[in-house]
Symmetry: C2
Subunit: 336 residues, 2 copies
């Protein structure tokens, strides 16, 4: 993610003259806001502001004026942080998933949480279809084959399969899942889904149980959020139900799948392939997968396009503007 | 392509008792029919029948009974071959393109030619979209990045772009091109096309000139057949018109693009990327492309799925059955 500087505006007279609302940028050093919001907000970024102060002291000093924070990418928002920020009333997430934000604690403290809404949905859906096409048609394997000069010296890698007519089971038919379905219908796939509740407006077959979905699918596409309920929802029973030819795509969160089992099923050839943008312990990827031609690996990039960055900048700005003018938030996370 | 044995049925009494029509399997040694047709036809395969006879002598000996041949993949059908087979009345191609068949000579000799019809169209369209998604979202680059253990040690490869909203220009809106358009509409792309004639039923913008199409496109997808008219139709003027950010996908034939120019434009960064399943001198691929992350390379595999093989087996069988029972051919190539 390209880094932009988040300027720390000094406190004092200058601060009082500045009418821009103050927003804390909460981030791990390797993540930065990929766009500039300084024309609209005063951004307080402990990492960008090089001082001898500890981060805790820095936050405590500014805490009385911090009513809103943006948490960048997967940077955790936990009780320790919230303890330091008693005036905080809004946590703005920059991702679609909010598994890195302690929602229980936020709710208890009366802190609202927003996510990226559907800003990323189309890009993530595109990526899911790209991974699926790649696994089915062996595109990355083809590219490796040509680049290593194997054509026509070595026997070719195994054939892929046609996408048309295949039964695709989508886990999580939210904004991303619906976009995946729309695309795959154009390839002649038959769509079914699993989600907490049947969606009356969705024209696809609903399975209340993921195992039942897997039995009736050639492909599982994981698009759901990571919650207590979805943690390891794709377990060995689901993989067995999916079967030898089955393919798993994950653009949700790594821990929705029992990764250890997935590696076993793939290396033993007990499922047909996988396309993975997310992993349980990013950036660690199980090395056993590196030699498999029926697996496509990606470093959590499904959301990363300039177009998505612009869309999420708009969502974040709209949420902050709504908050500071006491209007309804654009994409509040609903507490369960 | 997996090889199946094509049995050479010996001549003599056994041949006379056999009611199956005789069909010559014409193929280069590295290509074989990827399915079995022996229940329906007596297949005469000079390569599979190991004799001391020269291929010419073998063909001359069988020539009086050879009325139909299947040419496998890109195996050329030229005047030399036709000279050896005076009884030949049908050339059955197993590919969609027929640039390897001398149509002028066939017409002059009263030999009908059939191709694979639309048997491959969906698979080739899927492959075109897969290559496009890969170039736009850098899937193969992502996979390389993870497999080489670069995540998170190295700075990431450049961002890709969102597919939605992009203007895609399809060169050749036949059976394959139409399937490509249908898929890309679901991704929110805006479709235009170039072909010999405007298609009244197509709801897309028509450009009579490829340069005009390129000026108005972010992506060019080559889906047309290789003919005298389309040879090097994607030349440097078209690439200049497409511009720095433009992407070229080719699932047609290598020589539709001026490959030498394409390599120049890609290495100089004067177009944005390419996804290539076909090349001018297969299996040779320009080595300059091997180091580019914005290029996806594939060894002419767009048609290769078990589902396509089954579909083309049906088309070939239908054409041969029609021929031997004097009925209209299923997918005759129209002479210009």
């Amino acid at each position: 993610m390209p880094a932009h500087e988040n300027v720390n505006i000094p406190s004092g007279n200058e601060e009082e003259a500045d009418r821009r609302p103050l927003v804390l940028v909460h981030r791990l050093p390797r993540f930065a806001l990929p766009f500039d919001m300084r024309t609209t907000f005063r951004l307080l970024d402990p990492i960008a502001s090089a001082t001898d102060e500890s981060p805790q002291d820095f936050l405590s000093r500014h805490a009385p004026s911090i009513r809103a924070l943006i948490t960048v990418g997967p940077t955790p928002v936990n009780a320790d942080l919230l303890d330091l920020l008693p005036s905080l009333r809004l946590v703005v997430g920059s991702s679609a998933g909010v598994d890195h934000i302690n929602l229980t604690d936020c709710r208890r403290r009366g802190i609202a949480v927003t996510n990226a809404g559907s800003a990323y949905s189309e890009d993530v859906a595109d990526y899911a279809v790209a991974l699926l096409l790649d696994v089915f048609r062996r595109i990355s394997a083809a590219d490796r084959f040509v680049r290593t000069g194997s054509w026509p010296r070595k026997p070719e890698y195994p054939l892929g399969f046609k996408l048309g007519g295949k039964r695709v089971g989508i886990v999580g038919l939210g904004s991303i899942g619906s976009e995946v379905a729309k695309r795959l219908v154009a390839f002649g796939c038959r769509i079914a889904y699993n989600s907490r509740n049947k969606k009356p407006s969705a024209p696809y077959t609903y399975y209340a149980n993921v195992c039942d979905l897997a039995v009736n699918s050639d492909v599982i596409v994981v698009c759901c959020a990571l919650t207590k309920e979805t943690h390891h929802i794709i377990n060995k029973d689901v993989m067995t139900a999916l079967g030898k030819g089955g393919v798993i795509i994950n653009v949700g969160r790594g821990a929705v799948i029992d990764e250890k089992e997935l590696v076993q099923y793939l290396t033993r050839g007990e499922i047909g392939g996988a396309g993975l943008d997310v992993f349980e312990k990013e950036p660690d990827v199980p090395k056993e997968l590196f030699t498999l031609d029926n697996v496509v690996l990606s470093p959590h990039r499904a959301v990363l396009t300039p177009e998505s960055f612009e869309a999420v900048r708009e969502v974040i700005t709209a949420n902050l503007n709504a908050f500071f003018s006491n209007k309804p938030l654009l994409s509040p996370v609903q507490y369960e």
